[in-house]
Structure formats: C-alpha cells, structure tokens
Symmetry: C2
Subunit: 227 residues, 2 copies
C-alpha cells in the first residue's frame, strides 16, 4: 500500500514551502502525494496557479500530513473549516508535519501543545502563544511531529522525512537525483548570519506587508484558550 502524503494548501501559501518537499517526496518509492485545498479550489500564488487539487474535505486518512506556510497562514489559522480538516487528518496521520509558518497552523489547530517546533525565523516566537516550544532548528522532531524552518528548510525537512519513511540510502538517492549540494552565493539565510541592515530591511518589509500580524495571531491564541 502506498504511503500517502497530503499537502493542504490555501490562498497566500508560499509555494516553495510545499513544492520543495513535494518534489523530494514525489520521488520516494511507494509514496503518493496529494495536494488539496478547501473545495478543491485552485490556488494562485505569486502569479502561479495550482489546479486539479483534491478536495481537502474528501481526503481520506493519510500517513503524512504536511502543512506549508506563507503570509496566508493567518487566514488559515482563522478558518474553522480549514483547521477542522487539519485536525481530522492529524488525528490518524502517522506523522504530523509542517514547513515554515505551517507550524503556526498546526499550533492554532491545537496540535502542538508542549511540543518543540520549528517555524520561519520571523514568526517562530509566536508558537509560544499556543503552548508550543519554539525551536531554532532547521528540522525539528518531537515524537511524530516533524517541523521545518522557513521556506527552503522544506527540502532539508523532506529528506529527513524520506529517511524516516524509507531509509537513509533512499533519501540519499533522492538527494543525488535532485543534485542537492547547495552553494548559496551569500551567507544571509539566517538573521544570525545576515548583515544587520538586511535583517532590518526584511523585518520592515514584513511589517509593511502585514502590520497587524502580531495582533491577529494574539487574537487567534486568545480565542483558542477560550475554546
């Protein structure tokens, strides 16, 4: 029987959060990937349209649930319909996983209480509002919960998961087939290594793009505590 890996996506998702892991896991022998959205609606992000999606409401119990992130996560965190499906699938999945701010969606769904989890560096602290333990790791494992850091961490995450689902040789073969021997031209991938003015620039842009982000997430967390 196939290992079924489900990526629930939504408007405002960062596509590389799931296209990276999808490309890795689509090469896992015996695995089947399913990309789904509420109602099976196409999702357009950054001018790219993902169509032919499965209806999330009809996705059957799966082996791996992998929730990607993106600025749209704040809407996903406020969608009872979306969170309901995440909870339903997480309840029976062998692995509950996320990339980037997808961990905030898992957290808003009440799935990360007391769990260590990764997220995008600029959003990671917010995990604590939901009782999760923010972890700066690029790939973090806590029991059956695997979470990746921001966006491109999804590739490292997926190779780690491939080794878990199959074995190291299988994961290494996928790595070789994708020629994953990264050589970034700069060393600015983390706030700890980027120049301070670069960190400031990105932080200012994030703030400009979504000035009420913190307030929204705090509101979601308050509602969760009341629920």
């Amino acid at each position: 029987m196939d290992t079924v890996i489900v990526f629930p996506i939504y408007p405002g998702v960062t596509h590389l959060d799931f296209t990276g892991p999808h490309q890795v896991l689509a090469r896992l022998p015996g695995a089947r990937t399913v990309v789904a959205s509420l109602g099976g609606e196409p999702v357009t992000v950054d001018g790219l349209t993902f169509a032919g999606l499965a209806r999330l409401e009809e996705v059957e119990p799966c082996d791996v649930l992998c929730v990607p992130g993106g600025f749209g996560c704040v809407d996903a965190m406020r969608s009872d319909a979306f969170l309901g499906e995440i909870r339903r699938l997480a309840a029976t999945a062998r692995y509950v996983t996320s990339v980037c701010t997808g961990s905030l969606i898992l957290a808003a769904a009440g799935l990360l209480e007391g769990r260590r989890a990764a997220s995008h560096w600029a959003w990671r602290d917010q995990l604590a509002l939901f009782g999760a333990i923010p972890d700066p790791g690029r790939v973090v494992r806590d029991g059956n919960v695997f979470t990746g850091g921001g966006v491109t961490a999804g590739i490292d995450f997926a190779l780690t998961l491939a080794a878990e689902l199959a074995d190291e040789a299988t994961a290494q073969a996928i790595q070789l087939s994708l020629e994953y021997a990264p050589a970034p031209p700069f060393d600015s991938g983390r706030p700890e290594t980027a120049a301070p003015e670069i960190v400031e620039l990105v932080t200012a842009r994030n703030r400009a793009r979504m000035p009420d982000r913190q307030a929204i997430i705090e509101q979601v967390a308050r509602e969760r505590r009341r629920a």
Copy 2:
C-alpha cells in the same frame, strides 16, 4: 518598467527546476515572472497541475529567459515549435538562462555554441554534442548566459541572478526571507560525495526510466548539425 522573467515549461518538466527560481525571483522588487507553455496548456507533473499559463507563442520580448529541465527535455529538444519560441525570446533577452537539463534545450536551440554551461550531473556531458562546454559549476556564467546545475541548483542560480539584476543586498534580503541557510541531512548531493552504490542506484533508475536517452540526444545533435 518591470524586469520580465519568462519560464517556458513543458510536459515532463521537473517542477522544482522552476518553482525554486520562481519563488526567489517573484520576490525581486520590480520584477514580473511569467510562466508559459505552448498554447498556454496546463502542465501536470508528478501529480501537480500548473494552470493559468501564458501562451508561449504570445509572450513578448523579455529581459530574462529561464528554461527549466526534466526528463521531458528530450521531447522539448525535438519540438520545432518549442525551440522556435525559445530562439525567438533568446534573441532579445538580456539574459539567456537555464536550470538543470534546461541547458540541453538551449543547446538544441543552437544557443550555447562555444559557451560554458552547467546542467544536471547525469546529463552534463551531452552538452558537448551541441558544441557547448560542459561545466561542473553549480552556477555558471558565460557572458549573458547563466546556467544552473541539477534541480536544486536553481535556487543558488536565482540568487546569483537576483544580485545581477538588482544588487547583492537585494539578493541577500530575498535569501533571508526564504531562510535559505541549507543544512542537508546527508552529503549525497553530488556523485563526487555520494556513496558509489547511491550513484549506481540513481544511474540505474535513470537508465530504466529512459533507456534511449543517449540515442535520442545524439539524434537531435545530428539533425542540428545538418540543419
């Protein structure tokens, strides 16, 4: 005026070859990305459907042409219609670029004669059949031709191109926003570092998937020389 970056895609493309660079370059201030296919037909790969594509035949002269790779490259290399559009756009583009085996498509279009170019490690040698100079670099620049190595090299390629199109600070800000501080769990991304049995496994799988690859590419090269 926007910097227009065009990704021509086709059946059998490896999606991460273009989704990686697309995610990087979509964040370049003042840039506009266009993903196009012959006839604007949707492209389904590994179960993922890309829709809402531009009609390649109608794409206007652009600043950057970026051709992704994938096993489907051998069909693209034999499509006069596809190669014609590649040649038309390359004729006026400021930068002619590729990721992975996209360089073989550029080569088949007659655009790499005497040029150093990168490609996927398992296909790189074939470039020589078209008068190009295979280069093992992860990102290779020869004049206005920028080529990336296999699949994931597209991210390193795109950051290099972002610095060229804008400046290093801009590229570094994109790198930070995508948290691109890769930490592969294994060191198997290149045949030089992978275990011999892993290289053999991937080579055998490639052969099984497309036993006539070498013959097809040699045939295309012969036809090119006669043309």
